[in-house]
Point group: C2
Chain length 206, copies 2
DNA sequence: GTCTATACAATGATAGAC
DNA sequence: GTCTATCATTGTATAGAC
């Protein structure tokens, strides 16, 4: 009873996650275009080129499929944030680089980012249990760290509130992200992004 | 044939828009909790205490019901923005007041604001045709006007880009709005809001 | 204007063969 | 692991009485 299903070879589950990844890819596309609630499993499996039970075999439910998409997105986000944490340079340079990194990350994965964004701003009921505050907490943690380093180096006023500056950075990140993911509004290019960080440092007063 | 239905009195349609307003109110509540796509007309009419055909008599479809909600929200938003445009004071005071006004507007109508926010960040397909850029354009227009007035009065650096400052303001508005409408993240209080505007003027450098 | 009763399509999920 | 065939449920919308 213990070795009834592992009598093949050394590889336990090496057949092909091709079906699984095809389903994930199709799910992102349909969730993005229709929204999670309005997306039908029928359309997802047709786009993936598999039958319906394959989805339920690999994920168990439509809800679990969305969870899998979000968890993969959260891991990619966390990797970028960790990289931003250890980068060297002035606070201004590091915050600019953080914005550029996030800009590039979202640009490379627009559909996934749109799904995550949409679910984050969507309703609570009928949604999978997913702690979206990880994005917020990770962002704030990294920005606060950079700000405190900048204060220690004398680049940022010692009397300034790190959490206020972190909020301003979240605002900058929010505004360019929104314009990157939402159709119909003009995108913020990288040069403008750099100027916004500069404006936060230097002030509008002049 | 011309006067077959207006032979009653002077009042043409004064019976009671009670059913209509009850439906609008119930729609906001259900759209907020379930999201537009997952909201069922059955739940809406039950909450409103009317039967299903009453909804289709007054609005024609579930989609038109959402449109009615959004249009009312857009009118309330436009009124606040017009008021902010004509307010007197320094640029700093006017931008602070603008933030406070929007904060209060959203606070008084959290469910409606959540619905509008959710649809704005939601999918395109299956949604009513609604030009969400009116919010963006109105905000930018008002902020730019205040910034240009501030530059003319010497309160804001003449070399600063009005559109950059407008983007920063949109970021501030975005970050406190997001934290006001989304459950699970700490709200930004009014005092912090004032400090953020101050930070935009004075800069983090100190 | 508002109701009861219903038409009819589409949904998420499963049983059982292979 | 993947399929065909099917289930029970729920969805939006409407016909017709009052």
């Amino acid at each position: 009873m213990a070795d009834t299903e592992k009598n093949a070879a050394v590889a336990p589950a090496e057949h092909d996650n091709q079906t699984r990844s095809r389903l994930l890819c199709a799910a992102v596309d349909v969730f993005d275009r229709k929204g999670y609630a309005a997306a039908s499993v029928r359309e997802i499996v047709e786009l993936a080129g598999v039958a319906k039970p394959a989805l339920y075999y690999h994920f168990g439910s439509k809800e679990a499929l969305l969870t899998a998409v979000l968890e993969e997105a959260a891991r990619a986000f966390a990797r970028k944030m960790d990289a931003a944490m250890t980068r060297k340079g002035t606070a201004r340079e590091r915050l600019s680089a953080l914005c550029t990194d996030l800009h590039d990350l979202f640009q490379e994965h627009v559909p996934v980012a749109r799904v995550a964004h949409s679910v984050f701003f969507g309703p609570l009921e009928g949604m999978p249990k997913f702690d979206f505050t990880v994005f917020d907490r990770q962002s704030e943690r990294v920005v606060r760290q950079i700000v405190e380093d900048g204060q220690a180096a004398g680049e940022i006023s010692a009397t300034a509130s790190p959490s206020d500056i972190a909020l301003m950075m979240m605002g900058i990140i929010g505004v360019f992200t929104m314009r990157q993911l939402h159709y119909g509004v003009a995108k913020v290019d990288l040069a403008t992004l750099q100027r916004l960080v500069g404006l936060l440092f230097d002030g509008a007063r002049g």
